[in-house]
Amino acid sequence: MEGTGQERDLKMVVDFCRILLCGLLLAASVPRYQLGAQSPVSTERAFPEKLLEGTSTFDLAVSLQGDLRGNYGPCG
């Protein structure tokens, strides 16, 4: 059974608001998902400066490595 004209108008307004809300949510999600798709790869991350801490009153630093045993990189 069909409702009155006022009920139809109200339903139209509610539907319109739903569509508008969905549209707004969709629009808001696009940049976020775009950012996700272009999320910074490892080369674009900032270097964690904390790793460089230590005394700054030094004259010479020596970096030591050894026993790499074929490990060229992560999971290598």
Binding site: L60, V62, S63, L68, P74
Partner: protein, 274 residues
């Protein structure tokens, strides 16, 4: 694990934070893969990464002898780039007899600027000791002298020419402790013996003994302070974990991707890319 890309990223960040500070990059050896099916492929990439790392010295380690030889033979036959073998290999007690083997120097001396006063030079001597207590290395291919005698000789050579002396060796920690006591004049002894655990550096007399963490998971770093008018060097030691928080150096990261692709392709039966 770390690897070439994260190490390079750290070195770059270090140079940015401490501009002008001298920074030596040393490799105690045991660079290559050995025995694994994919070792011939992996080792080509290890060589390229090592070359691009611009190291100041590399110890000649018994683990690496066959790989150095294979890579040199490939280069001699035109199947690898000879230039990549122009590396600062050092050893105080090994003389290769085989043809094509990369050049091995008895020592390398790096002069670094200490300042102020401007122009003040500090000379660092670097050498290596190959430890082969069971005489497994063929004498027909390599002349290998006793480590203690060789250590005495190289220290005697370097003392008048340097202010700070570094030896790198594959000997076990116990033997390294004995060497540090028996041979005065070694300021830093780098032990690469593939220990699984992380060991803090130990001071034995005037010698600091440091064990790099194996398989590139961490960098060991030593910051040296040389007070004016003093011959006593102050050292701060630290480990830098090469974990996922460190961004890859772009060029080295690309190299790792290519290496992974090449190793995977080799696993599928594709011919190696020269």
């Amino acid at each position: 694990m770390g690897g070439f890309a994260r190490r390079m990223s750290y070195w770059t960040a270090f140079a940015r934070k401490y501009p002008g500070k001298p920074f030596l990059r040393l490799d105690g050896g045991a660079i290559f893969s050995s025995g694994a099916v994919d070792a011939p492929i992996v080792n080509r990439w290890m060589l390229l990464g090592t070359y691009l790392s611009k190291l100041d010295a590399i110890n000649l380690d018994p683990w690496d002898l066959s790989a150095w030889q294979e890579l040199s033979d490939l280069a001699a036959s035109g199947n690898a780039v000879r230039k990549l073998l122009d590396l600062p290999l050092v050893s105080a007690n090994v003389v290769p007899k085989v043809p094509n083997f990369p050049a091995v120097r008895r020592s390398i001396i790096r002069e670094v600027e200490l300042g102020p006063p401007a122009g003040s030079k500090y000379r660092v001597g670097i050498s290596g000791l190959l430890y082969d207590p069971e005489n497994r290395i063929p004498q027909a291919e390599f002349e290998v002298r006793d480590t203690a005698a060789a250590a005495r000789d190289i220290v005697a050579e370097l003392v008048p020419r340097t202010d700070f002396r570094i030896l790198m060796t594959n000997m076990d920690l116990g033997s390294a402790l004995s060497l540090a006591i028996a041979v005065p004049g070694i300021n830093l002894l780098v032990v690469t013996h593939n220990y699984e655990e992380i060991s803090e550096p130990q001071q034995v007399g005037e010698t600091l003994i440091a064990i790099p963490v194996n398989e590139g998971r961490m960098l060991s770093e030593i910051r040296l302070a040389v007070p004016a008018g003093s011959d006593r060097v102050q050292a701060e030691t630290r480990f830098v974990p090469l974990d996922t928080t460190i961004p890859d150096d772009p060029a080295m990261g690309e190299l790792i991707k290519r290496a992974q692709g090449a190793v995977a392709a080799a696993g599928r039966g594709a011919p190696p890319v020269h």
